[in-house]
Symmetry: C2
Subunit: 205 residues, 2 copies
Amino acid sequence: MAPADSPFQSPQQRSKARAAKREAVLRAAVQMFNERGFHQTSLDDVAASLGISKPTIYHYLGNKDQVLLECVTIGLSQLLEAAEESRRSAGNGAQRLIAFLTRYAQVNMDDFGRCVVRTGSEALGPESRAQFQALKRKIDTAMRELIEEGVADGSLAPTDTKLLGFALAGALNWPGRWHDPKGALQPAQIAEQLVAMLAQGFLPR
Amino acid sequence: MAPADSPFQSPQQRSKARAAKREAVLRAAVQMFNERGFHQTSLDDVAASLGISKPTIYHYLGNKDQVLLECVTIGLSQLLEAAEESRRSAGNGAQRLIAFLTRYAQVNMDDFGRCVVRTGSEALGPESRAQFQALKRKIDTAMRELIEEGVADGSLAPTDTKLLGFALAGALNWPGRWHDPKGALQPAQIAEQLVAMLAQGFLPR
């Protein structure tokens, strides 16, 4: 390892610096995609906002399609992680589903989750699109498995699993479009209230 | 009026022919926007699919931004019409809301409704965007009024009107993304089942 005052970076330092730069580019890109729309954003704009050049972005991440794929992959990984965490948590099926949905809604109000919600698969090139759709199918599957477990242990009402999955996903993706990150309501509150509405239904009990 | 065998069209015939041509262009455009994405569709493609030239589209509808605005305006008008019809219908607030939501979901699986769901406002130019957003606000308002009427007459559970409106809109916009018009399930069935899930909630009653 290089001594602390060496003008040369150690391999660890180089790798850490590289990861930090990559993340800074992704963060700047995802925020611009969310605000202006993917098609209205150029990598030149992203580069300019960081005081770097477009070739630097190519170096760290690749072309615009690859940058978008990376952004949505981060968002989808956060959703998958939420599903895995809920699967491991205590409680009955309904409680695990509610824990997952609450986290799911929150992720969709974060930078990378918003990007997933705002990205139509037609925006990506054929190869990236296939990866994007495969990851989304994994989330759909995880959601359906959680529902099935709840129906199996009697904590959820018997239902059309696929359709309920779509209903829940739709209701909880939507905040990625309407929620204003500068607004008064916190994502955690919104998520909790939305999930309670879906759990209880709008007809009086 | 020109006699039936005249080689010249009457004003009525001309106006009818013009409306039919306008509609054919809109139908071809909206289907291509939905299938390929707005940014991946050129008016040249739309024109070619009808065996006409791009200037003919300009003549009937204007530029691509204006064509998109017209498509989403038709979709949003269908949603508004559904709201007005439900307001006039018999039954208590919950029944009127359910009638509206069922029609709302169906429209979102039609060509023009799908286009509304798939269009982010950033795709439109500033002026068209303002019109698009104003119309969407009208639908939000209509949805909230229906909810408030149901809470007022006791047929709906007391709730955060705005948030419930977003939850319902999200769940029922989503089919405009996932529903396959060539799939086995009919829009009317899907709409009815989705609305029942939202009304009942996923916890057993």
